[in-house]
């Protein structure tokens, strides 16, 4: 459907006049380019898009988009964006956030925006480090991470952003990475098409404070054997000639096998539209470095849309209650309101 839209705008229209101030080589540039390139294809008017961010390197993003935007408070972007989206369901509201912003200081707002299914497209730039404050560990940093605030290594157990989002009843959950513009654009397009809260984790390299964090996963030489591309309705296979695949064992756990050993029929078929989130959750745990391990030991990791189910969005439901109240009670009459608790006449 989106393919038939004749772009009314160009990438240039979506680019603001502000000088981009990220460090040279930062993964954020690629993400910005993907979004600016995609927006004309989505058929959204410049004036109807709102980008809301919190605090952190990624949160400078709205300044570079020629749309409406708010660079807000650390962690609070989902709450402020909820205000925008519930007040104005006609707008196209995006939240730009990072692993510290969304998962640490703003964890509460993120899970509740997802639970309510507010019509937001949430892009979480996960670089597993605090960049703007110059290199402390984040809620997604691996155990043992040595940073300025953890000279003996981090002892904090990390979050899986996708598992967290699924636990918070997110209706759309996806993962992409900063080195593949096409994959990012496809993922963002699907997220944007989803009415309700769409959550996208973007693995993003911080070349100053956590350089190469995802090299063993998304590096051009290794990604073929390390990245599992999820496609709805298709068997979950990966690697050269799709030699490897994912099966569910009799114990309910997902395992990676050689397709030749088990046969294609035995390979798990991806179903992003399944109401029950347990498959999406299991896939979210089939992931890079097992939480708890002291080194970044990567295993093949799923990318793409994990979950995409329909559920009424919050702003629409709020609007529906307003309409229902008006049809039942008639439009508000201030004089009648003041008389509603009973009155008496003097004189």
């Amino acid at each position: 459907m989106t393919d038939t839209v004749i772009p009314l705008t160009t990438k240039k229209d979506w680019t603001s006049d502000q000088e981009v101030r990220w460090c040279p080589g930062c993964g954020d540039y690629g993400i910005l380019l993907a979004v600016q390139t995609l927006m004309p294809e989505l058929g959204v008017k410049l004036e109807n898009a709102v980008f809301v961010s919190g605090i952190g390197c990624s949160s400078r993003f709205p300044y570079y988009m020629n749309t409406y935007g708010v660079h807000s408070i650390h962690g609070r972007a989902p709450a402020i964006a909820t205000g925008v989206a519930v007040a104005r369901p006609d707008l196209d509201v995006w939240v730009i956030t990072g692993d510290g912003d969304a998962l640490s200081i703003g964890g509460n707002h993120l899970i509740h925006a997802l639970r309510r299914n507010v019509n937001l497209t949430i892009l979480l730039f996960n670089n597993r480090i605090y960049g703007l404050t110059k290199g402390q560990y984040s809620p997604t940093s691996e155990i043992g991470k040595v940073t300025k605030s953890t000279p003996m290594g981090s002892i904090d157990h990390p979050f899986s952003p996708l598992a967290l989002a699924l636990g918070a009843e997110a209706s759309f959950v996806a993962r992409t990475h900063d080195l593949d513009r096409k994959h990012m654009m496809e993922t963002f397009r699907a997220a944007h098409a989803h009415r309700g809260a769409a959550f996208v984790e973007i693995l993003q390299n911080c070349n100053v404070f956590n350089d190469g964090a995802f090299d063993e996963l998304t590096g051009r030489k290794v990604r073929g054997e390390m990245m599992i591309d999820l496609h709805h309705g298709e068997p979950i296979t990966f690697g050269e000639d799709a030699h490897a695949g994912v099966v569910m064992g009799s114990d309910g756990h997902l395992r990676i096998v050689e397709v030749a050993d088990v046969g294609l029929e035995a390979i798990l078929r991806h179903d992003a539209h399944r109401a029950d989130p347990s498959l999406a959750f299991a896939l979210s745990r089939l992931s890079a470095d097992e939480p708890g391990s002291s080194t970044a030991t990567w295993s093949p990791t799923p990318f793409g849309v994990f979950r995409d189910v329909e559920r009424p969005d919050y702003g629409t439901m709020v609007g529906a209650q307003l309409a229902e109240a008006s049809s039942k009670k008639g439009p508000g009459d201030l004089r009648a309101l003041l008389q509603s608790a009973g009155t008496w006449q003097v004189g």
Binding site: E47, Y68, S326, W344
Partner: protein, 634 residues
């Protein structure tokens, strides 16, 4: 007719009475007081109420901690306070007697539920002997009524179990007091019949109410009933209103007058939650309410809605205000209109959640990082909350600034009759959104500058998403004056800090000047703000009636202060500032105007009584003789 009946048929007319209903949290005292208030309001009395209840939903039954009281002052003339000392105390159990006897005036009428004065209940609150049987209550006129057993008897024929019947005893008490003060029965009976859907409960409450009423009439425990004539109030249509409902209605009105949808982000907190409840019922006015995940989110949502072109509001109490502080600072920086409503309560921390205090002035004034001034409006009575909400919205919208509106637990839950305003006379507070470019770039292209200010108000334009061409980004980083682009240069930051301060200071020219009530040549001036209004009003009236020269200035706008305030205060030899805190406004006026203002403080979780303020006025004037002055109290 017997003599007794003749005697009883002629009520004694009195000008005012203060009745206090006190019982266990589960005894329904708030409801009883509320119904007595409504019947009195419908009858045409002026009145003022003070609900006083514990923070626990159900504290252990029969304990002093679990006592819930409701005080109502009804009068045939204009009154503002719920009364200093009740002249009638209804005590449903020993705990209520223990908790509230000290408030009853000497010689006052004490009506007790005899059935509850048994050993177990007495022991719970530490009475070693039954106070009804010793002489400890000899200073009062004690009327013992076995309310529980009479209620059980009255409802027995309905088939109500004694245990359930007992729950109707508050209606027995209400019936008795309704007779004692000659309240028409109809409004309460009508209310019972519509309020209780369960047939048996409705019948039981009706029977108990009638039984209480007839009990007063037929027994000789009371000499005669009393009558408080209707007050000579200005003609018009009245309703009885609490501060929180008035505030919610004021917000609905503000939306209508501004022609903007209202958006409330709120997190439940005592004593502010009723505003959320009331606004949640106003969806047909286009009011959106979101019960947020926390106080911070509630403020964030309101600010987001403001960016999107709504009248963004968040409601809270002290602890929530602390949490919203960072969002207020962002709103100051974004220069967007937003209302924060703080229903103050006793603190710090959880403090006294159900009791009143007015000690959030400091945090309202100064509780933000860096230089982040904002206007503060303070409501002074339940009905004033309506107008204060509209005024706070007017300032927020016109000056594109967050505004804090202060109310407190006393006026939030207290009620008074309110002469309904003429809806057509309410002010137009609408503002225009920016829809055109407002600047030309050096290369000749039209552009939008989000921080190009109105030279008069210093307010910036408000362009909302959806407006073609005016796309712009704003944020917490310092902005260049005019263009709104990020700018860290020293001179620009200093300019912006001064501009934001000047914008707020300039509002002083757009608010009414401070006015003096009382004597222009007074020996002492009372400076008040907020809910102290009622007690100050009574104290000033009484001291002036006795010939003392007293003036009174009451502030609605606490920030910025009215421009003539310093000059006005300097014209009096003495300035007293009564506050339910340790002198927060007092310190502000001392610092602002270099005057020797003196604080009068009370921090007991209770409003001032007028007597306390009368004492303070006399002390300031060096008067120590107080004998007899309490005659004819207002």
């Amino acid at each position: 007719m017997t003599d007794t009946e003749e005697r009883k048929s002629a009520p004694e007319t009195i000008s005012r009475v203060v009745v206090r209903f006190a019982g266990d949290s589960g005894d329904g005292m708030q409801l009883t007081g509320d119904r007595f208030t409504s019947a009195s309001a419908m009858f045409g009395n002026d009145l003022s109420t003070l609900p006083d209840f514990p923070a626990e939903i159900r504290a252990p039954a029969g304990t002093v901690n679990g006592v819930s009281s409701f005080q109502v002052h009804i009068s045939d003339h204009d009154i503002t306070t719920p009364g200093d000392a009740p002249s009638v105390l209804v005590a449903m159990n020993p705990a209520a007697l223990k908790a509230d006897l000290g408030r009853l005036e000497q010689g006052g009428l004490l009506i007790v539920n005899r059935d509850s004065f048994v050993e177990r209940d007495l022991a719970k609150v530490g009475y070693e002997s039954n106070p009804l049987d010793d002489d400890s209550l000899s200073d009062y006129r004690v009327v013992e009524v076995p309310m529980t057993s009479l209620t059980i008897e009255a409802t027995a024929s309905l088939g109500v179990k004694p245990r359930d019947a007992e729950r109707s005893k508050n209606f027995f008490a209400l019936g008795m007091i309704s007779w004692l003060f000659s309240r028409p029965r109809e409004s309460t009976l009508d209310w019972i019949s519509t309020r209780f859907k369960d047939d048996l409960i409705r019948a039981s409450n009706t029977a108990a109410f009638n039984a209480g009423y007839h009990f007063g009439e037929t027994t000789e425990l009371f000499d005669h009933p009393f009558q408080v004539e209707s007050a000579h109030m200005p003609p018009g249509e009245y309703t009885n209103i609490t501060g929180n409902v008035a505030l919610a209605w004021g917000l609905v009105a503000a939306g209508q007058l501004a022609k903007l949808p209202v958006f409330l982000g709120s997190y439940p907190i005592t004593p502010a939650s009723d505003i959320l409840h009331e606004l949640s019922k106003s969806k047909h006015f286009g009011v959106r309410t979101v019960q947020a995940e926390d106080e911070i989110a509630a403020a964030g949502m309101a600010l987001g809605a403001a960016f999107a072109g709504h009248l963004g509001v968040t409601t809270t109490s002290g602890p929530g205000l602390a949490l919203k502080s960072e969002t207020l600072s962002l709103a100051v920086s974004l220069e967007l209109p937003m209302l924060l409503i703080d229903i103050q309560r006793g603190g710090p921390s959880t403090g006294l959640p159900t009791k009143t205090e007015a000690a959030d002035l400091n945090i309202a004034m100064y509780g933000r990082h860096s230089e982040a001034p904002l206007p503060i409006v303070a409501a002074y009575s339940p009905s004033h909350c309506f107008h204060a909400a509209i005024e706070a919205a007017r300032i927020a919208l016109k000056y594109r600034t967050p505004v804090i509106l202060l109310s407190d637990g006393y006026i939030a839950n207290g009620s008074e009759p309110w002469l309904l305003p003429d809806v057509d006379s309410l002010p137009d507070i609408s503002v225009s959104f920016q829809e055109e470019f407002n600047h030309v770039a050096p290369d000749g292209t039209d552009e939008y500058w989000p921080y190009l200010r109105d030279p008069e108000t210093l307010a910036r334009p408000w362009a909302i998403p959806g407006t073609p061409g005016l796309m712009h980004r704003i944020g917490g980083l310092e902005k260049e004056d005019g263009s709104g682009d990020i700018n860290y240069t020293p001179a620009n930051h200093e300019k912006m800090v001064h501009l934001r301060a000047a914008k707020i200071a300039g509002i002083a020219a757009d608010i009414p000047p401070a006015e003096v009530v009382g004597d222009a040549d007074a020996d002492v001036c009372i400076l008040g703000w907020g809910s102290t209004w009622a007690a100050i009003d009574a104290a000033v009236q009484r001291t002036r009636r006795r010939g003392l020269k007293v003036a009174w200035v009451h502030l609605v706008h606490v920030s910025p202060l009215p421009p003539n305030l310093g000059e006005l205060l300097r014209s009096f030899p003495k300035v007293l500032v009564p506050e339910l805190n340790l002198g927060q406004l007092c310190r502000i006026v001392r610092a602002e105007f270099l005057i020797d203002a003196q604080a009068v403080s009370k921090v007991q979780g209770l409003p001032f009584t007028s007597i306390e303020l009368e004492d303070a006025i006399e002390a300031a004037l060096g008067i120590t003789e107080t004998a007899g002055r309490r005659e004819g109290a207002a």
